[in-house]
């Protein structure tokens, strides 16, 4: 076992502890961004000295965050042993509560998908306590299904509405019909006081986090994510940072008024953007009541597949509904691109599922709507994360706790042999 500084001992000042923590985070983040490499190379690339890097890596190994992998090839002399993120010992959980479904997703430290569960549920017709109880059940199911050695480090829950992250309260989520719901408190009770942090965030913010991570090779500084569901949310990255606003309530794009005398919205206002581009509006335009695509008990992905099939077959009513929604999508997106000038506009949720029917109209429409020439350089992309963007963003957010402060990973993982470490076979 390597030397580790005492976190409370009198020999370590608060400053030394903070520097050590910062450097642990630096090395762990470096391995995340750049992949497995030797200690010598980490030292060279981070500017830390080799002895420090060796000590830091030893602590990260001890905490189960890093393990030794294959020897690095191509150097002169003895091949150096590479180290890299160890995906075996912990998982971060994301969860999502939405109108028609619940979902839970687990990522390992390497960001690899470990488990995913999706349950169709007509949440809007249920009491918040029942929905949260059901979510706790799904979380437990996912955890039970994992190799017992993977310890959860956090759970972040995505909700379509105003969220007070500090208190874990859903302030207002009209499509769920939730108001001032102490969601984190109840979830913690239902999960029998878990030893990992449980937090709450807006679903579009978390989806934007996932979209940014999906573009990690060349992350755009300015990204706008629009997530289409019963409601419409916006997740905005500006200058490389999530744009949250003064009270954390930025991105309520679904409630931009686009028609002065428009339809009544779930929030009580009229003319909100989501009244003309929300999922239920599209479904109402495309099909009569009783049509299976309008059945909230059926899985949404299947219903959208059905709709896509009808559009492909040239069904007039479906095509007219898609055109109508695409027109309004362009109006609202045009407003947002004029205001934010993003480099990339990502359509998520059902907008992406029906992407081929929206993309062309939207691209052309933005050229018209946006004052800056060439839509201000904004390209339209369809999310490839399907309905998992928010839940994946939740897991990434939960994971960030460990990357920000690797000492949060706590104790060493359960006993394992040196061989086990050296081969890194299960990574």
């Amino acid at each position: 076992m390597s030397r580790r500084p005492s976190l409370t001992g009198s020999s370590a000042t608060a400053d030394q502890v903070a520097v050590r923590r910062h450097n642990l985070s630096l090395v762990l983040g470096h391995l995340r961004r750049h992949g497995d490499r030797s200690r010598a190379r980490v030292a060279e690339e981070t500017g830390l000295n080799k002895a420090t890097v060796s000590s830091l890596v030893a602590e990260l190994v001890e905490r189960g965050l890093v393990s030794e992998g294959e020897a690095e090839r191509g150097g002169v002399g003895r091949p150096a042993q590479a180290v890299g993120l160890d995906g075996r010992h912990l998982v971060a959980l994301g969860a999502e509560i939405n109108i028609d479904y619940l979902s839970v997703l687990a990522l390992d430290l390497r960001g690899e998908l470990v488990a995913e569960r999706r349950v169709a549920l007509d949440t809007a017709g249920m009491e918040p306590t029942r929905v949260l109880g059901e979510l706790a059940r799904v979380v437990r199911e996912v955890l039970d299904g994992l190799d017992g050695r993977s310890r959860p480090v956090g759970l972040t829950v995505a909700v379509p509405g105003l969220v007070e992250t500090a208190t874990g309260t859903v302030f207002d989520a009209p499509n769920l019909r939730w108001q001032r719901t102490a969601a984190v408190a109840q979830l913690c009770a239902d999960l029998d006081a878990p030893d990992y942090p449980v937090t709450l965030d807006n679903e579009a913010n978390l989806a934007a986090v996932a979209e940014l991570a999906a573009r990690a090779d060349a992350p755009p500084d300015d990204l706008l994510l629009l997530t289409g569901g019963a409601g419409v949310g916006g997740g905005m990255v500006a200058g490389g940072r999530l744009l949250r606003g003064g009270q954390g309530f930025a991105g309520e794009v679904g409630h931009m008024r686009v028609e002065r005398a428009g339809a009544r919205c779930g929030c009580g206002r009229t003319g909100c953007w989501e009244t003309v581009v929300g999922l239920h509006t599209l479904l109402r335009l495309a099909a009569d009541e009783g049509d299976p695509v309008r059945d909230p008990a059926r899985d949404l992905v299947q219903r959208l597949d059905e709709l896509r099939g009808r559009a492909a077959a040239g069904d007039t009513r479906t095509l007219a509904a898609l055109t109508e929604v695409a027109d309004w999508l362009t109006v609202g997106a045009g407003i947002l691109v004029n205001v934010l000038n993003p480099q990339v506009l990502v359509l998520g949720g059902y907008f992406a599922a029906l992407g081929p029917w929206f993309a062309e109209a939207l691209e052309a429409g933005l050229q018209q709507e946006v004052f800056a020439p060439g839509s201000g350089g904004c390209r339209v992309e369809m999310s490839t994360l399907g309905f998992s963007a928010a839940v994946r963003g939740g897991a990434l957010q939960a994971l960030s706790v460990v990357f920000d402060d690797p000492t949060r990973a706590g104790l060493a993982p359960p006993a394992r042999t040196t061989d086990d470490l050296a081969t890194g076979a299960t990574r």
Copy 2:
């Protein structure tokens, strides 16, 4: 004269020069934010050692940026001599080209107003070359009027439209009818190749810079400035930084489409927000052609005074016009507050001039329009900078060159006596 490291000499490495420059900027910025104080106090508050601070202050004095002021009271022992920003030796210039006027403003290093000139001019009816020539004439007038010892350190020009700052080109300013105008190049030619940098920026961005500076005591992290003129611009500060977008074209709020089948805008589109809240719309609603308030040759401030007088006297047509514009102002502001969740919404330009007639309707309207309760904590404020916000922001921007890198202030100021320095009388 104090020792100053050679900026090019072989003894100073590039790193040492950069560190020195950083520390000069640190000390100068500290004096700007916190006011006059002793070297010892600067050392204590910045964490730099006393000898370093003395050397840095000596260089700042030599460059004419700092001078010695009164002895600091209240300490134990010999009173220490305070040092502070020296406002005597340089000025930063802001300029603005707008539909009905040109203006030029000069600030000293302390941010104090040194000179301001405003010229009513129907710029939209003139060729860009004539407008720029006229602006150069006003700039020269302002410089000629200054004590010859105040050297200009920069000029930043505010324009209502899309600006490519890197090339100094006005990309598109429909209300001026300018397109791809190489404004900086021509202005430099008209000013006979000035030895200070000339730059260009969007007027609302610069107005937001001025509004932030006006709130320096408690600067909001998230501020939205709406500037009302013939066009309507938005300057947005998010997380403490100006939100510029991918190509620098963010904040084109005047071209948000708020009516699908609305009036034709100067940009060629229909339903743009500025077609219902722009100055000319208000004037058209409030008065017939030929009415003096619609005469672009008259000073705008006087015309707005006249309009305010009519409203105060209960003139029905004026009041109806103000109500109509206030309603639409609320719709667009509601969209922006839903998207950005600013802590403060500042109304500038003509919106502020008619503030008393808009504020109440807007405050109440936002409570309705904004999804987050209590308008998401957004308070409405009227700019107190009048039509000088953008031009003042331009001067502040020009000044920032010196605060970012005090060595840009170049040579020592003209000869002066030690007495002159010690009394700091003209500061």
